[in-house]
Structure formats: structure tokens, C-alpha cells
Amino acid sequence: MSVLRLRASRGSVAPTGARGVSLVRAAREARTDLRLVARGWRWGRRPLVPASAVSSTVVTPRPPFPTAWARTPAVSAVRDVIQAAGLVPLMRRELTTKVGGLDVLTRLRELGDGPVVFVANHASHLDTALVLTSLPHAWRRRTAVAAAADYFFDTWWRATGSALVFGTFPIERRSGTLSSTPQELLDDGWNIVIYPEGTRSPDGWTQRFRLGAAFLAVSSGVPVVPVAIRGSFAAMPRGRSWPLRGRPAVTVRFGEPLWPQDGEGVRELGPRIEAAVARLHDEDATDWYAAALRAATGTTPSTAAPAPPATARSAADDGPPTSTAVAAADEPLSTWRRVWERTESPDVRRPRRVWRV
């Protein structure tokens, strides 16, 4: 082995003759060229158009990043391994996760093995990993995640990575129209995770749901499984790339599937989904029956913003109202208070804390 290496190095490095010299020169030239191109064409960064050529340059939309490869059996198997051996232990180490409502999936399977659309609120990059690791293995391996084309599929390495690890596929959020891919995936029997808010919430509160998920459900006739995720904003909000220390608590709760009814349109199903996710949040924070009661009376707490202070005082009796809260009763809630409320982790360790205290 060492002899071989010695020979090889002598042959290629030692500039014994013109050939050796020319090899060295060729390598140097190649490096110069490569540097010139890498700098000139801004490898790894955005391509730029010279200012004087902007008006004459047609920006051709890039074709969607191909992700079919990521759903082939072989790559799925690799992903299985990555998720089971990497993602699941990692999530367990970094987070305290409570998963609820998985029985809806069992019951769905009794009805057949058609695909479903999971609809979840979205406050953190943790959400996808949370949903996927919460799903039973049989479900997880047939689940793909809709990810923003302009973020996750912007560069080849991010696109490849997320498609490999999470089974993401690109979805165009700017134009509002879905590319044809999710439809095809459903037809192929893949479950889909969609975040109808379109983006991560800036303050942890749910934003307006868009109608893409409802549209998919209606056009493909598949059920929508609402998913409520609590605590992911507190654990890893926008701007963080790793969860907080101390295994913050998060909960994932799956709700009853919503079937598109006969004659039900996108505009009817959409609000139903939004309401179902809100009810699920309520259920997760309190209990199933109380949430059902509140849903029946239309008093499910909003997930879009905290309740006004007055209501809050009567509903939740934790601590006396402050004078500022009273003073601000009729103004919109300030941003810090919205964020403040959502940065509190859900209380999944309560029994233990009782024991401690």
C-alpha cells in the first residue's frame, strides 16, 4: 500500500519533465478558472443581472425541483432509517413531546387505506418533524410534506436535504395556486401534510388559513385530519435554529377527520377545518368534553389571538388582573403580549410539578 502511494505521488507530483510541469500548470489554471466562475456567477448565492441588462433580461421561472426520486422505495427506505435512527431520538432528546388523538388514525384505517390530508397550525420548523415523528410508522412512511418552493426548494442542497429527510415536495405559496404535485401524490396514495397558514406564525398565534387544503380535500375526496401543535413556538420560534435548552414541552394532537360533504365547496370546508384546529387546541389545553361544549356554544377560544383581558380574567383564574390589562381592554393587544403568551410552554409536566411543589 505504502509503496503504491509512493509511486503514485512520484508520478504525479514530482515535475521531472515537461509533462509533470504541464500537469501542475493545468491544475493551477483549472483552479483559477473555477475561482473566476465561482466568484463571477456567485456560486451558492443569488444570481444577479447587471443593472443595465435588467430590463432586457427575462427571468424564466425555474421548473419545480424534482422530488419524485425522494418517494421511490429505495429513498423512502433511507428516509425511514434517517427518521427512525436520527430524527426520532433527536426529538426525544431535545423536546418533551405529548401526542394525543392517535386513535383517529386507527379508526380511519378501519374505513379503508385511502390517503388523508393532515392540516396543522404552523409556528416553527419543528412542526414538520413533530408531526412526522408523532405518526405511527406505517403512516409516516407514506406521508409527504408540502414545503414552500421559494424557501425549501430555493437552493439545490436545501431542496435535496429536506426532500430526503422529510419527504417534502415544493408548493408555490406566492401565486396562491397549487402546483399539480399534491394532487398526484394523493392519487398515488400518499398522505400530505399541509400548513394552510402558508408560513410560520410570527408570534405563535394562528394566522388566517388559506384554502389549499380544503381544495385538495374537495377535489380528491379525501378526509382532512386536523392537527394541533402547541408549544413549538415556545420551543423554537422563528429565528432559532435549535430548540431551547431544557427539553421544552410540545404537544401534538390529532383530531376527528373531516370528510368533505356532498355539495360542500372549498369555502365551506375551509372554515370547518380552521374551526376544527382551533377546537383541537382547546381540547389539548383543557379536555375533550369541555372543548366540545365550548365548540357547541361557539365559545371556543380563538387561536388567532388571546382573549380580551376581561374575558381572560373570568375564564382563567390564574392571577389577578393587572391595571395595565384593564386599561388596555379596548385597544388591540400589543405584539409583545401576544408573543409573551405564546412563549409559555404547554403544561405537560403538571403532575410532576405538583409532586415537586
Binding site: S22, A30, D33, L34, L36, L48, V49, A51
Partner: protein, 526 residues
């Protein structure tokens, strides 16, 4: 939608730009503020070429339809542009083949027996049989070549030339006898650049030294501003005068074609694109090509570049009376190639590419490189030159003193003997032209081998006389130092050095314009 030509201004966001240099190219980072002229994108090609040709022949401009000009017992001669066009060579089938096949089909239908085809190569080298076969196709070649009815024009055949008359300026008009004595001369042209076509076709393509020297001389060339605009070119004026003399003696049916700007096949797509629009794939193939070329032996590089066949699309074909046809042709050429430029600049930068009109399947020797850069590209303007009077021209080319002995025997002697005595076109003309033009060996090689005529290198040198007269400094980047100096220019190893060298005439921060050529462009300088 075809995008028009563009004048780019180099800024910090501009990637390095591609510059041709002989059998290779380099990436150059131009100083900020450099103007770069890009030709318009390729115009859409005519979808049905055959139908377009038929229509042009049946509905000619200012002429009877071709079938009406054909009758049994007539003498029909078809002349066509030689291999100096198009550049790079056109991917088969050549447009000349498609037109000549239709013309011959009509002639056969009309019962014309006496048909001859002649390549209008003037004092260019004779085309080889293989080149004729490739250009005109197997059918045409097989029907005419073995019978000696498909020939190259021979300007030195005393029996083969006919003196037609004199122009009112006292210029001899002499053309190929067969053509002159035909009932109809059909001329098939490829109008690659605005210089070609019109009365440049017959009165120059089929003529002799005697006639050529009236306009191919340093004096006339100096006053041709530029060759791309026949109304401002003294050379074209002379040709036009000759054409008008010819018109009274000979029925000419002119067929002119125009091509779009698709100069490079898809393998070299990056050569055709604007750099900032290069995809990763373009960048990769450019890098791969650069690496490959740097290790390839010269002969392989030569083969690679000479092997490029351009997938030109036809943008139009017109037939009929010479001048009327040419007007229509020029309009199309201009639409494809004109780039509007605001004002002249101090420095003009040119990359001399691997091919010019006179080194098809051959070597671009120093004289041809000079002619390509300072003759053709420098003159590729309308109005006034891109560079101001007294400005500097910087060219890229290896300028290897390598000559093709078969094609350019007189160039070797011109380089060794003439250029070492003088580089002044007028001096050279007075002292040497006659000798070279009448040298029996050159004449012999021109007639029997595949050599350019003895006088041809002089014409190349006259082509550049306008540039020599107009420019203060001419510097070659990356050229063979001795060859560059032999031609009376200066050489630099980098653009920065070249700019430093021309500081004397243009100052420390000159305005620079780079002609991003090919694809072909004409700078319309306002």
C-alpha cells in the same frame, strides 16, 4: 419574442465575459463602465423553408417569375457564394443546396439542357470536391460535377474571362465568360453580413484581378466607411457601377438569403448566450471546454473548432432584380444584427474568433487574424466607427505565425518578405502587389491547387487600412509577440497591460466598448 441588441454596462454584478481568441476563448473581467455590445437574439426562422424559396422564385421582386425566364435551348448558369460564407459553416442542408435544387427542378421542367454551376470564388481558393458536395448536396453534385459542369470560377483562365466594358469611372468590367454568355445567370447568395450581396455578388464574385484592383486597393478601402453600408463604401460604389454596366449585357436573377444568429450548436450553447444568463450547465460546459482546450493539442483544437456547424435558421429569401432584392435583404440583416450605440468610445475591444471567411477548413494565420479583427469587426459599424479617431483597438488572438501551405502559400511570403519591409498598405501596394499578383507560381497554385490568389494577402492588408488610419494604438492581447510586431502592432499579455500601454493616446480612464461578437452584430453608432 426576440430580444433586441443590448448595450451592457459592466458593473459589479457583471460576471466575467467571454472573449473569443482563435481556437479558444477566455473569460475577461472588464473594467467597470465598459460598454458591451450584444447582438439581437436570433430572429425566428422561416418555418417552411422550401415553401419560402418557392414563393421567392415564383413571386420575385421587379422580375418575371423564374419559370418564365427558362426556355428550352437556353444557356443557364447558376453561380453561388463560395465557402467563405456562412461562418461557421452551415449545418447541412446548406441553404444554397435547397435553393439550387428548386431552381434546377424548374429548369428541368422547362427543358433546359445547357446548365452549368460555378462557385463565385473570385480570387479565393477553389473549393474541393468534398466541399462542393457538402454545400450543394449529393444530387446536384452527382448530376454536374463528374461532367465538369460544376466548377470553381477561374479568374486566371484567359479563355474563361469575358471583358464586358468600362464604367464611366474607367473601370474594367470583366467576368466569367460562361456567365457572361448565358441567357440567364442565377446567383444564389448567403447574406451573412451586410457587406455581402447586391452588386458585390456577380461583379466581384465572378471577376478577375484586372477588375478587382479598381476597388480592392488601399485607397478605396480607406474610403469605405464602412463595408457594412454599401451607400458609404467606396468599394461598393465601384461594384455598383460595375453592376450597372453588367445589367445592360446580362440578365441576372439574384436570389438572396438571410440567416438568423444561431451560430453555435447546442453543445456550445454558452457561446450564444449572455453571460449572466448562463445556467449552471452552461458554466460547467464552459469550464469543461476550457480545461479540454488547455490540454488538447493544437491539431485537435483546430479540428474541434473547424468542425462546428452552425444551426442557422433562414430569416428570409428574396429573388429578382439585384438592387431591389438587396434592399429587402439588407433590411432583414439589419434587423438581426444592428445594435444602437450612443457615441464613440476611446477604446474598442475585440475577440477574434476561430473562423473567418478565408480560413474555413484552414488556419487563421496572423494576416487573416488582423483582417478579421481590424478589417471585419472594426468595420462592422454603420455611421461612424465604434472607436473615436485616434483611439485604441485591443484585440484578442494567439496570432500564431502558422500558415496553411496548401491554402495560403502567398501569405507565407507576404508575411516573411513584405511585412518585414513595410506595414503601410499604400507602400506595400506600390512596391509588391504587382509582383505577387502576377507571380506564375501563385497563379498556378490558384488555378490547379486550392490556394488563394497571390494578391489575396494584399487585399487582407487593404481591408485593415481604414483601421490603421483611424486608430492611434492597436494592441493584441495574448498574441505571439514576434508575429504581432512583424505586423506593426504591439502585444500585451493581459487586458490591464494593454490598457496601460494605450494610456498615451486615450488617457488613464478611457471609455471602453467591447464587441461581443460572434454572433454577428453591426454597431449603429449615433
Amino acid at each position: 419574442m426576440t430580444r433586441p441588441g443590448l448595450v451592457l454596462e459592466v458593473d459589479d454584478r457583471t460576471p466575467p465575459l467571454l472573449v473569443h481568441e482563435g481556437n479558444g476563448f477566455r473569460l475577461e473581467e472588464f473594467p467597470r463602465g465598459t460598454r458591451v455590445l450584444y447582438p439581437p437574439e436570433s430572429l425566428p426562422a422561416v418555418p417552411d423553408v422550401e415553401a419560402a424559396i418557392t414563393r421567392a422564385l415564383l413571386e420575385p421582386i421587379d422580375s418575371e417569375p423564374l419559370p418564365q425566364l427558362l426556355f428550352p435551348g437556353m444557356r443557364l448558369t447558376i453561380a453561388f457564394d463560395d465557402i467563405s460564407l456562412a461562418l461557421p459553416q452551415m449545418a447541412a442542408p446548406d441553404i444554397r443546396q435547397r435553393i439550387i435544387e428548386q431552381v434546377l427542378t424548374m429548369a428541368a421542367r422547362a427543358g433546359v439542357n445547357d446548365v452549368e454551376l460555378v462557385a463565385a470564388n473570385a480570387l479565393h481558393r477553389r473549393m474541393t470536391a468534398q466541399e462542393l458536395r457538402t454545400m450543394l448536396g449529393e444530387r446536384v453534385f452527382r448530376s454536374f460535377y463528374p461532367q465538369g459542369k460544376l466548377t470553381n470560377h477561374d479568374a486566371e483562365d484567359p479563355a474563361g474571362m469575358a471583358h464586358i466594358g468600362m464604367t464611366d469611372h474607367g473601370e474594367h468590367v470583366e467576368i466569367n465568360r460562361r456567365a457572361a454568355e448565358s441567357d440567364l445567370l442565377v446567383y444564389v447568395n448567403v447574406n451573412l453580413v451586410a457587406m455581402d450581396g447586391g452588386h458585390k455578388s456577380v461583379p466581384i464574385g465572378l471577376t478577375s484581378y484586372k477588375s478587382l484592383k479598381h476597388h480592392h486597393n488601399s485607397h478605396t478601402m480607406m474610403r469605405s466607411r464602412s463595408f457594412m453600408d454599401h451607400k458609404a463604401s467606396a468599394m461598393h460604389h465601384s461594384a455598383w457601377r460595375m453592376g450597372r454596366v453588367l445589367k445592360d449585357h446580362l440578365k441576372i436573377f439574384q436570389i438572396e438569403t438571410t440567416l438568423n444568429n444561431d451560430c453555435f450548436p447546442s453543445t456550445y450553447a454558452f457561446l450564444q448566450k449572455r453571460e449572466w444568463e448562463w445556467s449552471i450547465r452552461d458554466q460547467a460546459s464552459m469550464l469543461a471546454a476550457r480545461r479540454g482546450l488547455s490540454v488538447a493539442p493544437a491539431s485537435l483544437k483546430h479540428r474541434i473548432f473547424q468542425g462546428i456547424r452552425a444551426p442557422y435558421g433562414l430569416t428570409g429569401v428574396a429573388a429578382g432584380e439585384v438592387e431591389a432584392v438587396h434592399d429587402a435583404t439588407l433590411a432583414r440583416v439589419h434587423r438581426q444584427q444592428l445594435v444602437e450605440v450612443d457615441g464613440q468610445s476611446d477604446v474598442m475591444v475585440l475577440g477574434v474568433p476561430f473562423i473567418g471567411p478565408y480560413n474555413v477548413n484552414s488556419t487563421m494565420n496572423p494576416i487573416l487574424a488582423a483582417c478579421m479583427g481590424l478589417g471585419y469587426y472594426f468595420n462592422s459599424y454603420r455611421g461612424k466607427p465604434v472607436v473615436r479617431q485616434g483611439g485604441a483597438v485591443i484585440l484578442y488572438h494567439p496570432v500564431e505565425p502558422a500558415f496553411n501551405q496548401l491554402h495560403h502559400p502567398s501569405y507565407v511570403d507576404f508575411y516573411d518578405e513584405v511585412l518585414s519591409v513595410s506595414t503601410d498598405p499604400a507602400v506595400i501596394e506600390a512596391k509588391f502587389e504587382e509582383q505577387y499578383a502576377t507571380d506564375p507560381w501563385y497563379v498556378h497554385l490558384y488555378r490547379t491547387s486550392h490556394a488563394y490568389h497571390g494578391v489575396h494577402p494584399f487585399y487582407m492588408w487593404y481591408w485593415i487600412s481604414h483601421a490603421l488610419d483611424h486608430c492611434g494604438d492597436i494592441v493584441w492581447v495574448g498574441g505571439d509577440r514576434r508575429a504581432v510586431e512583424r505586423m506593426g502592432f504591439r502585444s500585451a499579455s493581459t487586458l490591464q497591460d494593454a490598457l496601460a500601454m494605450v494610456q498615451g493616446s486615450v488617457g488613464a480612464s478611457p471609455s471602453i466598448t467591447y464587441l461581443h461578437n460572434p454572433p454577428h452584430l453591426i454597431a449603429d453608432v449615433r
